[in-house]
Amino acid sequence: MEKKAEQKVLTDVVIRFCGDSGDGMQLTGTLFSNLSAILGNEIATFPDYPAEIRAPQGTIGGVSGFQVHVGTSIYTPGDEADVLVAMNPAALKVNAHVLKPLGVLIFDADSFDAKGLEKAGFVTDNPFAELNLSESIQLVPVPLSELTHASLKDSDMDNKSILRCKNMFALGLICWLFNRPLEQAVHFLGNKFGKKPDLLQANVKVVTDGFNYGHNLHLSVSTFTVGKSENLSKGTYTIISGNKATAWGLIAASQKSGRNLFLGSYPITPATDILHELAARKDMGVKAIQAEDEIAGICMALGASFAGDLAATSTSGPGISLKSEAIGLAVMAELPLVVIDVMRGGPSTGLPTKTEQTDLLQALYGRNGESPLVVMAASSPDDCFHYAFMAAKIALENMTPVILLTDAFIGNGSSLWKLPKLADLPEIHPHIAPESLKGQFRASTRDEKTKVRYWAFPGMEGFMHRNGGLEKDYVKAGISTDGANHALMIATRAEKIAQIANALPAMEVEGDESADVLVVGWGSTHGHLLNAVNTLNAEGKKMALLHFNYICPLPKNAHSLLRNYKKVVVCELNSGQFVTFLRSELPDVPFLQFNKMEGQPFKVSEIVEFLETL
């Protein structure tokens, strides 16, 4: 420990915490993110965790990771880590590839014993050589287990409980490394463990000892200071995950529209947090029901919609498959409904905890019959709030189901969110039947211009009607099997959806508008694509970016913008679903495509590398 410590000032830094799924890596990462945000850093986080709750300790299958990117101009959780904290050999084995050549590896030396190495499947006693780690990586062995024991030797805690605090020792160390004052960490721990004073005291003791350990030993690594971001406008922020932001967007829409919020849902990874968030909001009058299955979840929501509520259901891929028939009923009955699909790797059970953009075609077309509806996507954890709000607004104002696509990456990831004011959010005007229709209302009564059906629900006197999944007569609303009427109804339902484009905001090109190459993306890849485009523009290679949040219908100027460029390349985390849709909309445009299907988000570097070949 002779090397003299140097202070590095960086614009941004990526840290990845990894360990057993029981090691508390998600908590450690979250606390560090909060500390960074308090100091004025932008942040983006990415939890990467296994499907198994507790795989055998110390094995590859049980490794859980949490990556956080802090600094200025942060659009993604980062491709590679500057600092990797590995709690055991298995965690190192799974995550070594993300470490930069000049990065820092901090590891629990106590767990890198013969037994630990064997459990992780190493065959020699030198895991670093086995992993071909670059020699330029700085290795920082810290006997975390032993030091945590020493820190808590005077406590009454048993051995197992003591070891569970070693994540806090690592956090203390990282706080020292990045000049994070401990007071704030203690404050956050107080929020977390406030009801368990013994546990709080132990965690505070260990995090403090970890910090002091780094300070006293001046660990032979450079310490980092990350500059405060100047991109952030003044205001009050919080850190929010995409799933929480989605839930809160629905609550805000309920307040704005004056309709009670009802969620029918069934637990499914990675969407369950939306159910958790809304179940906790009885204070806001939210009724969130955990149904007996996915189908019941959406059917209960549809019942609530029939009865006049803002209704939603939340799920992931397999659940969307199960809900297809009921979504079709919502199309046919022309009832407002928000369907949230937090996409994960598929098909079938697939990769439950990993991210993928593979439900797009199912969202667009995955129902029997001609069944048009609105499909939209959020692009970052914080904008899940905005798009959930807009999904509800569009559903209530246009009497249609809306599928909102998010994914494991932004659903579980978090970012800074500037707190909105309810008064500043757009107004929502549910399409409720006016009093003038009393006594003559039918299930097919609609605004003849927009084709939007009017909403009347039980309790309203003089508006009784019968709705359902059978085709109905355009005028009288009774059951009809007449061919010409069926054709008219199909056209009417399609026209209603198409007209929603009139109210969508015009799209804007990011990057260099004058470029020859237009990069196209949708949903959660926005940060990575923008980063790649900015990087290339900075290098003098002109690139433009057109990113979609509204997919069906497309915003009105989308077609002309897409026809404006010599080369258009559609980048997405599937084998080409959006590009397939775009080809059907613009058969004259020779779209190029760039795809990834590894259950992981893009890396900026791989997009840059691909775009450079164009």
């Binding site: 307040q255 039980p458 003089g462 359902g468 999944g469």
Partner: protein, 332 residues
């Protein structure tokens, strides 16, 4: 004051002539008038099948949904708006085959629904296949050599799922039908009303043993809470316990007196005797009709509402702005 006509829609009723459903809907309209809830405060939800067409023929708000899911949709309506009176119409296939899961869970939760379960032991709308209540050995187009399946007894599912209300009536027994409909609306919780209906096309005479009024007197017993279990043309037959089982006795024979006859207690939580009654079969035993079980219990929709009010009375969060203020704030 309402009349049955106030609950009729302008739609032409399209069931086959002679179908048992005609009797049930006409009784339902009379019962609704007698109960007196205005049509606009009633929602009738159904799944798919012949009987699930009911909403179209009634004047209240109606929703004809998808196969098997009526219970879930009805649950959503009732939980969202407990002030509404919610009926669910379903058949033996819709309710007990494709919708079996939603059925047992709505019963388990005790959502305040009035469920009309039309049991004709056949799939009618798809033109004659066996259903989960068809007798073993029943020959249909999908069981040309007879089914090898054992049937469900709906009452047993209700009791097994913790059900609080079960009643039964024959389609043509208008008096009992109306009575159990009225009782169902009074009951807070899931009220299962099993109607034994005839399918004149595909399963004619399925309830033939009790079809004629003459036969019914001796072959049915209409149970009433707090009343002795007496039946028969002469009103001289009754039920007593013989060991663990029920037995038919004749009052005045072998020293049996009227006070020896069991008194029906629909309110008892223990369903042992309710199950014995609900599973009685001819020719030795009469088939039990009327309200077999009606146990007072908090309904799910009430419980949801009560919990919400309790949380709201204690919570400091009264508005969306309060909610935002409850978050960890970071000033930049």
């Amino acid at each position: 004051m309402f009349t049955a006509k106030d609950y009729k829609s302008d739609q032409y009723v399209r069931w086959c002539p002679g179908c048992g459903d005609h009797a049930v809907i006409s009784t339902l309209q009379k019962a609704m008038a007698e109960i007196g809830i205005p049509p606009h405060q009633i929602a009738v939800i159904s799944g798919i099948g012949c009987s699930s067409r009911i909403p179209y023929y009634l004047s209240p708000y109606g929703f004809h949904t998808i196969h098997g899911r009526g219970a879930a949709v009805a649950t959503g309506v009732k939980v969202a708006h407990p002030e509404l009176c919610v009926w669910q119409a379903t058949g033996d296939g819709d309710c007990l085959a494709i919708g079996g899961n939603h059925f047992i869970h709505s019963v388990r939760r005790n959502v305040d629904l009035n469920v009309l379960l039309f049991n004709n032991q056949i799939y009618g709308l798809t033109k004659g296949q066996y259903s989960p209540t068809s007798a073993k050995g029943f020959v249909t187009k999908s069981s040309p050599f007879g089914t090898v399946e054992r049937p469900f007894v709906p009452a047993e599912l209700v009791f097994g799922a913790g059900g609080t209300f079960f009643a039964r009536a024959l389609d043509v027994d208008l008096e009992t039908s109306k009575k159990i409909m009225i009782e169902a609306v009074k009951h807070k919780g899931t009220s299962i009303l099993e109607f034994l209906v005839n399918c004149v096309i595909f399963n004619n005479g399925v309830h033939g043993w009790i079809a004629s009024k003459e036969d019914r007197a001796d072959r049915l017993i209409v149970l009433e809470d707090g009343k002795p279990m007496i039946f028969g043309k002469e009103r001289n037959k009754g039920l007593v316990l013989d060991g663990w089982n029920l037995k038919v006795v004749t009052i005045g024979e072998n020293g049996v007196r009227e006070e020896d006859i069991l008194i029906h207690d629909a309110k008892t939580v223990d369903y042992t005797l309710h199950q014995k009654l609900a599973t009685m079969q001819g020719p030795d035993m009469p088939i039990a009709m009327g309200v077999i079980r009606a146990v007072p219990c908090e309904s799910y929709d009430e419980a949801v509402q009560n919990q919400m009010e309790e949380v709201q009375s204690k919570s400091k969060i009264k508005s969306f702005d309060d909610l935002l203020n409850s978050l960890e704030h970071i000033e930049i």
